[in-house]
Symmetry: C2
Subunit: 187 residues, 2 copies
DNA sequence: TTTTTAGTTTACCGATCAGTACAGAATGTT
DNA sequence: AACATTCTGTACTGATCGGTAAACTAAAAA
């Protein structure tokens, strides 16, 4: 196999950065070329389906990362540890609020329709994994579901607010609040 | 004054709808013409500054609506009533989660840089108005600030999650939770 | 009724869009 | 060395982008 400077897998994080910065519609091919350092020929070689395949690959990569770093710890670790691992991973991944959630951003406009399955799956999987851990922590089923949904809401909202204000504090406060809220049923 | 089918003010909500659906970059002039029923010439007659002025006008209209329906009630009404008015207005405005917050959406990508002042102002004004009401409800200053930021986060996040899941429940639950949380200091 | 102003339509501009074609360079494999 | 495969750069396509120009219609003001 021939192999030059980059592999397909190496390009995906760079594409992710571009989609995060400009959104799906705003990420033109020329900007994607610029960010990746690849010409159109190379990009279309790796992603024959064009921009849609590139964004799909980015979403797949994100999903994969969360599966390993967040969802499986929630599933398999003792629940308190799993929740702790989730919060640590989330804080690291979103760089304390300086980095946005691409899946959440895609959900807000009509890009959602194009990637409805991926967007819905990401949040559904996360919600179910967290709810399961909370149930094992002693929350009643309905309460665990509600708390899990609320936690995802708070994280997404904190990312919006931190970006909007150019200030990490909303995100940091949210992680702190979640650390307290998700410990024991007696919230 | 000559006056045909539409006034400038009548066009702004239609533009808002387009920006909400497609985002700033995705809302092309042809789509804006389609949604408003106006030709390019008419649009540029009303908004000589082009797309940027259109989006600016939309943000101004939103800001104005929230000023009257949310911020001023928070400032001037008895605090419990003000908070109640805010939650009712928010629930109505966002149509129980089916409608997104354009300001939040703009905050997520590089559109934020273009409208940094409007985006920051919207959330700052809201946070301060809510914090003031909470202080008058008996919350300590720092706690009121924290609660206000958290409330805005929860609302924004609920909009993301409701859109992502195609389900009003996260938003409805959030309004319910906020109704309880923002009543008395003994949360 | 004539004039002025307000608003609309249409055609057009250069730039950029997503995507294609293809020749050639880099890297195996034999 | 010869060859095949993988990758890259460049030039191109037709379509659409945001924006402009100007002739035009409608209606209010004189």
């Amino acid at each position: 196999m021939a192999r030059l400077v980059a592999e397909r897998a190496d390009v995906i994080p760079l594409l992710a950065e571009a989609f995060r910065a400009y959104g799906y519609e705003g990420a033109s091919l020329s900007r994607l070329c610029e960010k990746t350092g690849l010409g159109k020929g190379s990009l279309y070689h790796f992603f024959p389906g064009g921009k849609e395949e590139m964004a799909g690959a980015v979403l797949g990569e994100i999903s994969h990362w969360f599966e390993r770093q967040v969802f499986q710890p929630l599933d398999n670790l003792p629940p308190a540890e799993g929740v702790g691992a989730m919060l640590a991973a989330v804080d690291a991944y979103f760089q304390s609020g300086r980095r946005i959630c691409l899946v959440g951003a895609f959900a807000l406009d009509d890009t959602r329709d194009r990637f409805a399955m991926a967007v819905n799956g990401y949040f559904t999987r996360w919600q179910q994994a967290l709810s399961g851990a909370l149930q094992r922590l002693g929350f009643a089923d309905v309460e665990a579901d509600r708390h899990a949904r609320a936690a995802l809401s708070m994280i997404q909202g904190a990312l919006v607010l931190s970006r909007a204000l150019g200030n990490e504090q909303p995100f940091r406060d949210t992680i702190t609040a979640l650390t307290a809220q998700l410990r024991l049923p007696g919230a």
